[in-house]
Amino acid sequence: MAETLSVDKEQKYDRQLRLWGRDGQIRLEKAHICVLGSNAAATETVKNLVLPGIGKVTIIDNKNVAGRDLGSNFFLVHDSLGKSRAQETAKYLHELNDDVELVEGIHADPVQLINNEPTFIKKYSLIVASELPQNALLKLGELCHQAHIPLLVLNIYGFVGWLRTVLPEHDIVESKPDFPPSDLRISDPFPELLTYVNTWDFEKLNSTQHAHIPFPVILVKAIEAWKASHGGALPANTKEKDEFKKSILALSWKAEEQNFAEAHNAALQAFIPYSIPSAVQAVLDDAKANADNITAESSPFWILAAAVRLFVAKEGHGKFLPLMGAIPDMEAETNTYIDLQNVYKHKAEADQAAVRAHVNAILTRIGKGPETISDDLLTLFCKNALFIRVFRYRTLAEEFNPETSTVAESSWQLEDTATNNLHWYLLIRAALRFEQQHGRLPSSDVNADSMQDYNEYKNHVQTLLKEHGLAEDALSNDSIKEFCRYGGSQLHSLGAILGGVASQEILKITTKQWIPVNNTYIFNGMCSNSSSYEF
């Protein structure tokens, strides 16, 4: 992407640019999200997207500002009372960042739009829904699924919050794992690496040089020697692995040699053979990564995946992804470190050139030019080959339909105490049914006590449990009553927590970096813990 950011934006957004870079920022600025509902959870979500500079936000709600909104929603003032909640909150949200092009509030009923003007969603890159009744929610889920638009659902009830993300298909090049493995190819050294390692004769070194032999060199020498004396096999069992590790330390001249300690600690890389991670293999095995299936409509991700699949089969000898190319810091002299860096760098570049040839062949076949896939993107893909991911989320329909529901598989969790989070998920599901029938949440009259709707709500709970293959008494009366206690209460803190998580997920989804939750998140504010599920 050729676009650059202004100096002002570089300064203001410095702390977030260090996370997702210019490319991430540009994706963020191209997004237009639609938020249905304008309660605390919804507006807190928007706040955390306006501040970092999201492109556009449209808030749609038909509620007018009530007294209780002033006690829970930061983006309203006293004067807002009685006015359109969508329009008032949009005003005070936009004020947070005047670099954001649009934050508008539309006074309209989301349920009406979903039922009567379903194509309204096509304008947006992502939909957020809060406070939607169940039928409209399921209809919206279906609409978003058909249109391939991501949907986030978030609701808060007293001390509990629920977030559900639905992504039709989400591909990630930069999944940025917290603990990325190295790609040093120690157990399977490529020819250029072997050649470089063979230029080293440890015996001929002085003590400073010896203490600065880079650890990959030590390990490759050691594992090649092992393979030579063990018929080409790697250390196979604990005894052999220990023996191998001892043999590394035996090469050391002094206990203080840090490089040999590094080699000892990294010995795993010498005796675990290279393999393509299963998540990456799943991407390469996907029908869309078959070069024969690539068409002019295929996205750059799948074109590159197809090219890498061809690379693995040919230049990768059926085994190897393109080399990452980066090496970690290690105890080494400057010149030898740079020499080693260059060995990996040149091999990575050679692999990228091979991938480029496959890409260009595919592009030619579909009638497109090589510039369709930029060098930057190709390099990024190859450097991240070990971390690419693709997700296809289960739909709301699959989750809510008892015939396709998977919740019974987690029934063992319900034997835990009533504060187990699966309880709260089921109580929320039952509350949605109650709300669909009665137009309000259980015991929502703040002047009445919890028992107001207890019996009726309990009926819904038991019906839900039975339909999903769970015991009717799986949820305790205490927890059913507790949900009635909440009465639809929306605490600002819970709105801020769920809004924080939802906005974080939207950032991940929009920048296509890191890994979003798949697909349900329950936050329990009584225990200050949380759980995620794939329903």
Partner: protein
């Protein structure tokens, strides 16, 4: 009707305060519409101190004000920078240069009717002990381990024993502490003397990843960061003698960047940029609003629960990670019997009697679990107390300096208990039971 008395304003809270619950904390009493005593405490009596008015502080202030709290104090010694604006949402471009605490208080007081946030543009160390004693709860959104150790140690020192010899609950001020970095964070509840304190868990905070060995920086640099650190630590003090490096001065940054680039070129190292230079010199941590919002609200949720007993509070540590899926780990961090701040046991230290007091001090400085900076040592307590080496006042330091070179066996006996005090641990002392090796 005043702005503060808007009908239904606190409905969302009333659901929880007016209704019984099996899940409420011990001592919870339901409010009635006629006698809302818990809500009254929340809105009229409770006094909360917020430490820090930055990324976490702004969120905390908003969350407290929208949880009903009115009597809020906020303390922060910083002024607003343009790079704060992507998340410290109480500040605007026009506020750059103004004190954070003051601008934050103004915004909240204007936006939330009835809120009475009082600002203190000060360092926490500049406030007297009596200041802290006035609060029911303290909630911290700090960005340094050092400041956290200070407030933790101070609050532990405020706890007194009652006539029965137990810790007097009236002198215990809960400290709710939050911290964030990129997509990660933690929230914890500290009840001084009761739960683990901040010092108990010092080892959870990882060492500075930019702290490199000097021989690497000087002789075998390999990364652009090595080049930058070398200029900052070795070249600046040498070539710009007496001039303090001002990390916010663009000219100083440019100087470091240029020198680091030259050094990198001579070694054939690539990657020195101005952005990297700023990141290394200022130890910049990436930050976004979303993570701050989550952790701050989790902390305020705890304050709300403690103040109202509407549910049990966190026991006692929640770690959060949002990079891969969304993940929390909630557990009770155990109180350490040998914690220098809140522990009841002394620590046994074995050392040769021939070693000098100076050598003992060096061993203590090297001990990572203590993280001391400039220890002073005395032996014995109360009437039997004898100073061995004190850093202050100057006249005492000069008088005791000869002790540093004396062998320990000439100063104390094996089995003596030494008291180590240090600027990093105000109001606390490490009790060291020294045993000489045979």
């Amino acid at each position: 009707m005043s702005a503060a008395d808007i009908e239904g304003r606190w409905d969302h809270i009333d659901y929880l305060l007016r209704r019984e619950s099996e899940f409420a904390a011990p001592g919870f009493e339901v409010d009635t519409a006629e006698e809302p005593s818990t809500k009254h405490f929340l809105t009229e009596d409770a006094r909360i101190l917020v430490i820090g008015a930055g990324g976490l502080g702004c969120e905390i202030l908003k969350d407290l004000a929208l949880s009903g709290f009115k009597n809020i104090d906020v303390i922060d010694m910083d002024t607003i920078d343009v790079s704060n604006l992507n998340r410290q949402f109480l500040f605007r471009k026009k506020d750059v240069g103004r004190p954070k605490a003051e601008v934050a208080a103004e915004f909240i007081n204007t936006r939330v009717p009835g809120a009475k946030v009082q600002a203190h543009y000060k360092a926490i160390q500049d406030m007297p002990l009596e200041f802290y004693q006035d609060f029911n709860l303290i909630i911290a959104g700090l960005d340094s381990v050092k400041a956290r150790r200070w407030i933790n140690s101070t609050l532990v020192s405020l706890v007194e024993r009652d006539d029965d010899g137990n810790w007097d609950a009236d002198t215990i001020i809960p400290l709710i502490d939050g911290g964030t970095e990129a997509f990660k964070g933690q929230a914890r509840v500290i009840l001084p003397r009761i739960t683990s304190c901040f010092e108990c868990s010092l080892e959870l905070f990882p060492a500075d990843p930019l702290n490199f060995q000097m021989c690497t920086l000087a002789n075998t640099p390999r990364q652009p960061e090595h080049c930058i650190e070398y200029i900052t630590l070795m070249v600046w003090p040498d070539e710009r003698k007496g001039e303090k490096l001002d990390k916010d001065n663009p000219d100083h940054m440019m100087w470091i960047f240029n020198k680091a680039s030259e050094r990198a070129n001579t070694f054939g190292i690539k990657g020195v940029t101005l952005k990297l230079t700023q990141g290394v010199v200022k130890r910049i941590i990436p930050a976004i609003a979303a993570t701050n919002a989550i952790i701050a609200a989790a902390c305020v949720n705890e304050v709300f629960k403690i103040a109202t007993r509407s549910a049990n509070y966190l026991d006692n540590y929640m770690m959060y990670n949002g990079t891969e899926s969304v993940y929390t780990n909630t557990f009770a961090f155990e109180k350490k019997a040998q914690c220098p701040v809140c522990g009841s046991e002394s620590i046994t230290w074995t050392i040769a009697g021939e070693k000098t007091l100076q050598q003992l001090i060096e061993e203590l400085l090297a001990e990572t679990r203590f993280q001391l900076s400039a220890p002073s040592i005395s032996v014995g307590s109360e009437s039997k107390k004898r100073n061995l080496y004190m850093r202050n006042p100057r006249v005492l330091e000069e008088q005791l300096r000869p002790n540093l070179d004396k062998p320990l066996k000439d100063l104390i006996q094996s089995g003596d208990v030494l008291f180590i005090t240090d600027p990093n641990l105000p109001s606390a002392a490490i009790e060291l039971n020294v045993k000489f090796t045979a």
